[in-house]
Symmetry: D2
Subunit: 392 residues, 4 copies
Amino acid sequence: MPKTMYKLDLSKPMEEQIHPGHNRWHPDIPAAFSVDPGTAFRMECQDWTDGQIKNNDTPNDIRDVNLARVHVLSGPVYVNGVEPGDLLVVDILDIGTFQEYEWGFNGIFAKENGGSFLTDHYPEAAKSIWDFEGIYTTSRHVPGVKFAGVIHPGLIGVAPSLELLQKWNERENELKMTDPDRVPALANTPNPEAAVLGTLKGAEFDRVAKEGARTVPPRENGGNCDIKNLSKGSRIYFPVFVKGAKLSVGDLHFSQGDGEITFCGGIEMAGWIDLKVDVIKGGMEKYKIKENPVFKPGPVDPLYSDFLVFEGISVDEKDGKQHYLDANIAYKRACLNAIEYLKTLGYTGEQAYMLLSTAPVEGRINGIVDIPNACCTVAIPTQIFDKDIMPK
Amino acid sequence: MPKTMYKLDLSKPMEEQIHPGHNRWHPDIPAAFSVDPGTAFRMECQDWTDGQIKNNDTPNDIRDVNLARVHVLSGPVYVNGVEPGDLLVVDILDIGTFQEYEWGFNGIFAKENGGSFLTDHYPEAAKSIWDFEGIYTTSRHVPGVKFAGVIHPGLIGVAPSLELLQKWNERENELKMTDPDRVPALANTPNPEAAVLGTLKGAEFDRVAKEGARTVPPRENGGNCDIKNLSKGSRIYFPVFVKGAKLSVGDLHFSQGDGEITFCGGIEMAGWIDLKVDVIKGGMEKYKIKENPVFKPGPVDPLYSDFLVFEGISVDEKDGKQHYLDANIAYKRACLNAIEYLKTLGYTGEQAYMLLSTAPVEGRINGIVDIPNACCTVAIPTQIFDKDIMPK
Amino acid sequence: MPKTMYKLDLSKPMEEQIHPGHNRWHPDIPAAFSVDPGTAFRMECQDWTDGQIKNNDTPNDIRDVNLARVHVLSGPVYVNGVEPGDLLVVDILDIGTFQEYEWGFNGIFAKENGGSFLTDHYPEAAKSIWDFEGIYTTSRHVPGVKFAGVIHPGLIGVAPSLELLQKWNERENELKMTDPDRVPALANTPNPEAAVLGTLKGAEFDRVAKEGARTVPPRENGGNCDIKNLSKGSRIYFPVFVKGAKLSVGDLHFSQGDGEITFCGGIEMAGWIDLKVDVIKGGMEKYKIKENPVFKPGPVDPLYSDFLVFEGISVDEKDGKQHYLDANIAYKRACLNAIEYLKTLGYTGEQAYMLLSTAPVEGRINGIVDIPNACCTVAIPTQIFDKDIMPK
Amino acid sequence: MPKTMYKLDLSKPMEEQIHPGHNRWHPDIPAAFSVDPGTAFRMECQDWTDGQIKNNDTPNDIRDVNLARVHVLSGPVYVNGVEPGDLLVVDILDIGTFQEYEWGFNGIFAKENGGSFLTDHYPEAAKSIWDFEGIYTTSRHVPGVKFAGVIHPGLIGVAPSLELLQKWNERENELKMTDPDRVPALANTPNPEAAVLGTLKGAEFDRVAKEGARTVPPRENGGNCDIKNLSKGSRIYFPVFVKGAKLSVGDLHFSQGDGEITFCGGIEMAGWIDLKVDVIKGGMEKYKIKENPVFKPGPVDPLYSDFLVFEGISVDEKDGKQHYLDANIAYKRACLNAIEYLKTLGYTGEQAYMLLSTAPVEGRINGIVDIPNACCTVAIPTQIFDKDIMPK
Ligand SMILES: [Zn+2]
Ligand SMILES: [Zn+2]
Ligand SMILES: [Zn+2]
Ligand SMILES: [Zn+2]
Ligand SMILES: [Zn+2]
Ligand SMILES: [Zn+2]
Ligand SMILES: [Zn+2]
Ligand SMILES: [Zn+2]
């Protein structure tokens, strides 16, 4: 096993760790350690909320979560010899859980604190705990299903340059200002509350806390992409914006459905990840990988081959209004259709919703040009159920 | 082989066929034939443009296509004993091509006549011809790739009730009226030009032509969903809105990438399709399949397992503006990123664009809740190329 | 579709066809037609018994089959410019059935006339008819299962040189002579009875009939390999032994289980096959493909991913005798174990036996070195059954 | 993670462990621990040779291995309430390696000490060391390949009853006596040398050592089946022959090719395995699972989908002699054909041989009835090579 280069005490919050991680993106957050290209190493990760959610049957911790704290990350790792313009090649060698932490959680955020994809339909907080047994997971809160996880980091990314950071802050602030009082906010701009910034202290801490971008959204640096197939055996090519690349990782998921629609999230867990880094010098220009990372998924995702698929189109379900080729609405309709179907099997709406956010369901953009309706689908693997779910 | 119940002469346009098909949705279009539940039958289909595009090297026919004519459909089929409230179960048994028509086309529509997903980047008409050899296709216009088709009907649907039709026309007209002069139009409302309405004639023809919804968008009845995995061996459950269900089909694709992003389209072809129909009485209510069809994909899609995946986020590529969780922009960025990469392999932008619209690429909604950025991906099977396309 | 270069009238036996095929291997059987490398073409094929088995419910035709007639082949095809020492590259583009012949058969041969892998357990003739519906098949004689076929030619091969033919005849005769009266025979040496030899006539016919090797076994030239994954989209590399290679094909199977254990056989059918030929000059030496063909399977086999697997070891089931690393006995035991299990689901032994020979079951050699027991397995896809077959 | 119920010190041989395991099958070997049905637990395992093979570049340890010591097993586990006639249900939850032991070995045994499937062609000892990086492995001794392991226990089984044990000893002795001086032996009958028998001591040890069957072959109790797909997520149904079932496990493989043809073996490793046990009361009779275990493979094997396949027939490669439907010879020929091909890529014969025994190659029995030739194939995943290996 690769050497553990980043170690945590899960009983403590991030800022009390020997090497505190970070929950903001900023080029000036000091590296936790450095490695040469070609090195494999292990990093331990807190769950994305920094341990706020407990293995019990009440959703109150979901309801009351402090979202200023998310997502806490492990790192950054400084990769020697890597410079802006290079591609950082990252292999996800393996991911696992801790013996004392063989479970994960999923939750629906309350509309007033986080919200979710279907928050207008499911505005109340809910929670499900998922137990792990080897490659499989089950939940006492969503009975009748068992599936193999596609374990992956929801969030992995490199540090932005100051220039790129500034661009992020500007464009997100501009969006936020179009409706500054909206709940949930259109964007979460820099906020010093609950910031964790590695070993920074004093004035430097205050400056970076005021400038650092939230770790919630995915951006040019990768970040919180929540791509369920970025699993064991995957190789990622990151554009590099700062010296050493400064790679960070967190938000481990035992499994997630495409879209991570409940927002909280996949099956969220603490755990460890084994990474190996390498570099392609000058690769950003050579391969035109400049805007976002590119990756090759690993070969060991579960072999589910039997799906029941729900379609949706871009007509608003509440007022029947026609939208123009809107994939969000189409996917929302597909998910709502799936939930209505799952309810005929005996699930509550909340259970069905959490199932779509945790099981390896596939969310597709099928038709995005057939004016005026986009068509999206959500595909549910039938083999995860303990009974036949087909219409008869 | 099932008996051919709907036969075409491909050298003639739809209205000159013995049983003319239709290119509008309307409950009053007479059935071409009727069958009992449990029956398998073959239907022949013209390509979606009714033969306007030719196997040659000029894109002029794409540029000048008459879109008032699309999509021409075969049918409708009246299924005996089926009534509103039932589910019509349709098995796609097989799909094939005609000996004299062993090719298909893909095209980028010009911005002024149809447009496409990336029309601001690729406003000029382009065309690629794809030759079929058994399960494989290649194109003289997009060299270096060969892939197995996931053959499917881009469009299959049942007739709307008058009430449902009215709802469609109202909501689409309302959208159109928000920007009535837009090119391309926000929606295409009923238009008697180039209408084909089966055997209707005279005043009845005129009435239906004036009321009939365009066949371009997918809707509650299925229709032009352009779902690439609705291929051989699939079973679809349609909500039924009129007596006999009145099933129609067309727009056959030898293959299509998720999104069908060039709009024209997948690999468009004429061909035949073998269907089998059955009924679940009262199934709409029982299974809550009321808003859109549900389906189970067939088991014989190509086993491509090695992908290179491109990410995109919801920041506009032209002005850098941040959009709120917008899957359309995120998927657009993913596609543009893929095209830039493919250009480093020697393809023109247009070739790369048409490749994304024809090869079995997978378009995913990965994260749709990480405020403010949606994350979408487009995954390209690497095994379709005649060389190694990975970054090195 | 490729041009049909070899056409049959299925109502007539092979020797009455315009171009009679052949049921013996001999270099002097004249080519039915010739093509250039790079050409695609269609050939029609009679079922392997030349039409002896009928779509009815009696196994008498299986019991009384004339095995001197099998396997009748279409061809040979002379490929211009191909010479001994080359590799003949054959692409299997597509395979299909005839409208009037949408069914196939499987049978257990009687011990006295053909026998089978489990002939000591199932010595009586039996038959099952399998109906095709698109990619799927079902049988009125083996209820409760439906599966997608992995359609393939059981037999495809090139002509032997005279020298190679002589080697075959010698080694097979030597084996036969070790127990000349055995039933079934240890080997079937040349036998003029029921020979079909293309257009040969008179003395030349008599000579070749006396020398020609039976088409039953697989050999260096390919031949009756009965490899179920040699399906649509596969590419085969044949060593070439005579000028023009002289490729022949037949014994089409809609589906077959590994081992083809009932001998008759897979789901045997008449049909057509589209092939494309090419050449690698001098390839036999360059790639050391000299002893047997090599191939790359196509990418569209059914995606069955859920199996129930039965093990067997090399201890004789009748007398309990230990055999040394004997894969035949181990596979026999695995099959017998599977049959006993399937009988608990309500099947007769004969039904279960025919199911193993027709469905896409996988037969593996798992351990072949663990002295003294070989371990083999037979894996049955659970998704082909209309109920849950797992132990509970 | 399940509680570790069986712990090892890898620096010591089995008999010096706190709970010594065993390397003979006998009902009287005391259980190492007991669990209730429904319990998950972890067991640690020594490699099958009990640590005789080292991570270095000389094959001398392979050459000189003491085979009287193999296979050392962890256990047995007594499962409370389980009785003869029941089925023991075993879930393989997870398998992994130790931090200090991130490598495995493969070797070709010398003809005089163990031999192998192709021992007449490769009589000398050879060794390859395989390093693990997450899900992948590579070898400095077999360059140019990298693959994802299908990690599994080569050996897992329950204790025989005294009666069954006696049957084994009799039938194996009878075979051995047909050629008592053969090298390697036809069977390895009980041999007290190097026996490890758990906590047994004194006269009881001596008795059991004299009676206990070797753990090398697979038998009715499962045992050394070397089934590469019995990997993570699999469920096995064992017939039960003694009270408590007495389950043992060992011979962990990071990966193995079908047949394990070099005999030593797959990629052999020490490691841990998480199991969960349950029972189906009276299941042996109900499901007729009496002769051998039955299993359902897990869903996370690597998604290799592109294979190059080599055929072989049952003609002896040395003397050209025809054998009757002999799968062993056919598979041997297929493997030899594959090796000759791999040599054209630059591998030595020994490297190619070890690659076939370690990579996830599939060994099939394709045709076992086409008198007189069996046809077997070995399929090599092309995606494991760092270059294109197809003939051109
Ligand atoms: Zn996330
Ligand atoms: Zn998450
Ligand atoms: Zn379409
Ligand atoms: Zn189309
Ligand atoms: Zn055959
Ligand atoms: Zn056959
Ligand atoms: Zn073993
Ligand atoms: Zn082993």
